[in-house]
Amino acid sequence: MFEKVLIANRGEIALRIHRACREMGIKTVAVHSTADAGAMNVRLADETVCIGPPPARDSYLNVAAILSAATITGADAVHPGLGFLAENADFAAAVEEHGFVFIGPAPEHIRLMGDKVAAKAAAARLGIPTVPGSSGAVRDPAAAQTAAAALGYPILIKAAAGGGGRGMKVARDRAELAHMLPIAQNEAVSFFGRGEVYLEHYLDRPRHIEVQILGDGQGGVVHLGERDCSLQRSHQKVLEETPSPALNAEERGRIGALAVGAMRTLGYRSAGTLEFLYQDGEFFFIEMNTRLQVEHTISEMVSGVDIVREQLRIADGAPLGYRQAEIRLSGHAIECRINAEDPVSFRPSPGRVTDYHAPGGLGVRVDSALYQGCTVPPYYDSLISKLVIHGKTRNECLMRLRRALEEYVIGGIETTIPLHQRLIDAPEFIDGNYDTHWLERFVGRRG
């Protein structure tokens, strides 16, 4: 096993990785910007190296500085965490070229899944259903209507050169499609300089369901169930739960087996997540994240598997050593992402944490690098804490979450704790009756 691991990240996820390393008797190297010199993950690390000034491009994205830090500290391996360089195939390759082990997937798998079009094509080849779409650009209403009839209404018209939600139009029927097509083509020209559009079947009330998988690159692959991440605001996940209130046992087994089979064929190594849209009993692949995810915690709570520990073991060359039948998922888990933001306006709220008291008790886990007197710098992501709750049933989990949110004190800065308190009292949430559009409408309401 590795003797020393360099953690190329910051904040709560750096501390999360430090914990797994220390439990395995591995020494840690924290790299940090000048803004994070007093951070908890830095204070706890066995060795620390300041790698640059506050802007991420000069520190946490500075490949040369991180590799130099690994060299001067004599680290064996590099864990990229999530965000920053975690899905940068060139970084993964550079780490290995310099003689360190990259704790993550093979660079070619990172590269494959990083290209949305190639990823979707790869998924289709691996037998994973994708959102039905036209095979190429559609030019005139007659061709569009023929393609749409095969795909089924409603239809989403997307610019081939588009992204970020721009240049998309929804058509509910034939007449709307004929009307919308030239508008979409003109918009595509004005936004992206190219008028090509293509069609996809439009899911009007999908849930975001993702499957956590672990592969050892030696034929061993398991899944740790699904996570329902439908509660999103501006495409950012806010609260995640497992199991999904929407899936039944047959659907759960089907999507899990599909994901495992595809990853075995691919020969995937390390932790990964396949993301799907789910509606009316059907799953459609969106993308794959070739890294640890923020919400990995809830899968750990129901499976008892330490995903970061598994990443470390797998990177060291160990086989999984267990099969799907040995994975037991028990109870219900919810994660609340607590951000340093105003809970109504969502304006970032960096600053000094004057008071801090984390909730505790049975089934309560807090993944956070906060402490009383620490400073939340203004340069990075606003996620400051993950409150993760486990209960035997969803109801027990919700009751426990309610009391844990009541206990949590973070003074001196604004946080989204009040948003979570409001959210878990909403009847739609309590009933598990929500899709990816629901939270946007909910935060629009004043209550």
């Binding site: 007093g38 620390t48 790698i51 130099s68 400073t375």
Partner: protein, 153 residues
Amino acid sequence: MRFGGRRPSPLAPDPDLIRTLAQLLVENGLTEIEYAVGDRLIRVSRGAPAAAAVTAPTAAPAPPLPGAGASGPVIDPGAVTAPMVGTAYLAPQPGTPTFVRLGETVAAGQPLLIIEAMKVLNEIRAPRAGRIAQILVEDAQPVEYGAVLMLIE
């Protein structure tokens, strides 16, 4: 920077020594007195902002106090700091004389040392003219971003 699991142990101030130095200061009508033993330095001054400054020369800048903000610690204007993480070399090549010596007067832009990062040798030059008052790194010592390498007076 912290290596080998050792916590940074700030130079423990010796109250008796500081008291003696302070007395000498008053008795002789001085405004500042510096006392160095080996690589440890104690400076006691009157009227200046710092009453008793204790520096641990080879240590990186102390972590800022919680809430001190992101500007980082105040650095001596004559400090030469590392612009990157890497390994510091005081001589152009192994076995050759060092670029500069303690007490030597240097011109602005004169090479002081090399930092090797990613197998590239980066020459660090004097930001201003003056006398090399302190050399705070040893040859082949790893340095982190912002570490104080030398002081120029």
